[in-house]
Amino acid sequence: MTTMTMDGATVTGRSRRLSVRMFCLVFLAVLVAVAVLAPLLAPYPPEQQDVLSANLGRSGGHLLGTDALGRDLFSLIVYGARLSLIGPALVVAGATLLGVTLALTASWFGGRVDTVISRLCDVLMAFPSLLLAVLAVAVLGTGFGAPLIALTIAYAPFMTRAIRSIAIRERNLPYIEACQMAGFSVWRITTRHLLPNVRSLIVSQGSFMFGSAMVDLAALSFIGLGVQPPRTEWGLLMSQSRSALLNGQPLGTLVPGLLIVGVVIAVNLLGASLHKDKS
């Protein structure tokens, strides 16, 4: 039997959301498949240089042309998908783990614990995430690892903020007290009862976080502080193709850029549609 809701979450709205959601999922799934199957899909090894074929436009052997070092752009982009997608995923996973733990702890104990955690979050959120990442790179060196750690720490407070108020609301509801009356441990109550009831918010926050992380990581690689050659990543590719852009070969900048935008939009739409369904 259809549920009667009087707040606009109609059946027709829902089916529209489902098709948007389907489209985004398919798009992302294709990209993930491409990343996983990179060795099978890329016609050339990405690091293979051929100076004689440098800066070619689209041609028989090269679907998207070559870059300044003669590397096949299509292969670079396909392989670049790996780090470009995995990076934000790791940041979201880490920030979620850290952020949710802090939020649940703050909401459960309240009082001074909550105050300390909230102030800690305030301080962390005052730093722009990129600045923290640059600092981390300065301390730990360039590469993939330092930005990941820095962004995880920078993003965790946002998750904490989002989850904390809902967690506080749920924690004060009678069903949590009933769990206490039943003698359940704090661990059991938090993981088996509190967490499932904030799960949908975590998922939607996580999806928004993915987009930001993707852009931040790409930006870091763009300015040379993130992924280093010979590894490839979309942000790095955009940077490496800057001179080609000035020479009339935009594909090396355009395609990775569009892919980044596409992924961010798809993930945000996905998150928004999940959020609307649960409300």
């Binding site: 259809t2 009667m4 809701t5 009087m6 707040d7 606009g8 109609t10 059946v11 027709t12």
Partner: protein
């Protein structure tokens, strides 16, 4: 009843509309309300009682659609233009909600709230004087200092009195009250209902009181209507209610109230209150009725007059001829 009714409702029905899917909430309601008359609408969850008020006032949420006709003072409510409707809302009909805090802006003072609409027509001083007069009429002393206070500084009972004061400000012809005292303590409830009752009679205003409390309705109204699953099942004089209740549902409601005066065996109605969408072709109450017979499953009983009341029950004549205390037992 002489004279033209203040309110005429004919075949009012409300459905929840979602694309092509229609779910009934209120089914075919018709009644009249005379000027200065008070009607109580009593029902449980799913009865459609609150939706009735919203439908009459044309304040239904977007997903709900009303059909039928509603006439106020000879005017068709559904045909009213936006500004006429607004005028009616501000000076023709007043609404008292269950939760006063939901209906008052928390960041404005009580004084602002009360004088806001008045200031369009009156000077500030006149508006304030009127507001003060109403506050005193509802039994609030220190009315001047209350004007400066914010809603959160007042208790629930006090705030509800302020709501009543605001409802009376423009001297409406009709008051609609949707569970106005349900959230209040019983002693505050008595006070607030007494105020509503007294002021209403004094000023000759009509009232529709929606409540789940049959005794409360009977105490402050002229007539009581019982709703079940979106239908009107019984209507009659309030002072006749306890002696002469006829419909098995109303009887069941009276019987299932735990009495304060004596410990008796509880006689609940089995099952749970149904919604209009769950009702089959027959009587809405058939699944829970101790007197149900086969015709009750297939044919919805019409509302017929019996012993001075209006009752929708196939066996009403039989029930009326029996002595009172037997009507609760199964046939």
């Amino acid at each position: 009843m002489t004279g033209q009714p203040l309110l005429e409702v004919r075949d009012l029905a409300v459905d929840h509309v979602d694309g092509n899917h229609r779910t009934p909430i209120l089914r075919g309601l018709s009644f009249d309300l005379q000027p200065a008359e008070a009607l109580g609408i009593v029902g449980e969850s799913g009865s459609g009682k609150s939706v009735t008020l919203q439908a009459i006032r044309r304040t239904l949420p977007r997903a709900l659609r009303a059909t039928g006709s509603i006439t106020v003072d000879g005017q068709d409510v559904f045909a009213m233009g936006a500004s006429r409707l607004r005028t009616w809302h501000s000076s023709g009909v007043a609404m008292i909600h269950q939760d006063p805090r939901a209906a008052i802006n928390p960041v404005r003072t009580i004084g602002d709230f009360l004088t806001e609409t008045l200031r369009r027509r009156l000077s500030k001083n006149e508006a304030v004087q009127r507001a003060l007069k109403q506050l005193r009429a509802v039994g609030i002393a220190n009315a001047e200092s209350r004007l400066e206070q914010f809603p959160h500084e007042l208790s629930g009972g006090l705030l509800q009195r302020v709501m009543i004061a605001s409802a009376l400000l423009d001297e409406p012809d009709l008051i609609m009250a949707d569970e106005p005292t349900t959230a209040l303590d019983v002693t505050t409830q008595q006070e607030v209902m007494a105020i509503i009752d007294e002021l209403r009679r004094e000023r000759g205003m009509a009232m529709i009181l929606v409540t789940h409390d049959l005794d409360l309705a009977a105490a402050v109204t002229d007539r009581v209507a019982t709703f079940y699953a979106g239908s009107l099942v019984e209507m009659g004089e309030s002072n006749d209610l306890h002696r002469n209740v006829l419909h098995p549902y109303t009887r069941g409601l009276l019987d299932s109230r735990p009495s304060v005066t004596a410990r008796e065996e509880l006689r609940p109605i089995p099952g749970r209150p149904a919604r209009a969408s769950e009702v089959g072709p027959g009587c809405a109450f058939v699944a829970r009725c101790p007197l149900a017979i086969s015709v009750c499953e297939t044919h919805a009983p019409p509302l017929v007059p019996e012993s001075g009341r209006f009752v929708a029950c196939h066996r009403v004549a039989e029930i009326a001829s029996r002595p009172q205390h037997e009507t609760g037992a199964s046939a």
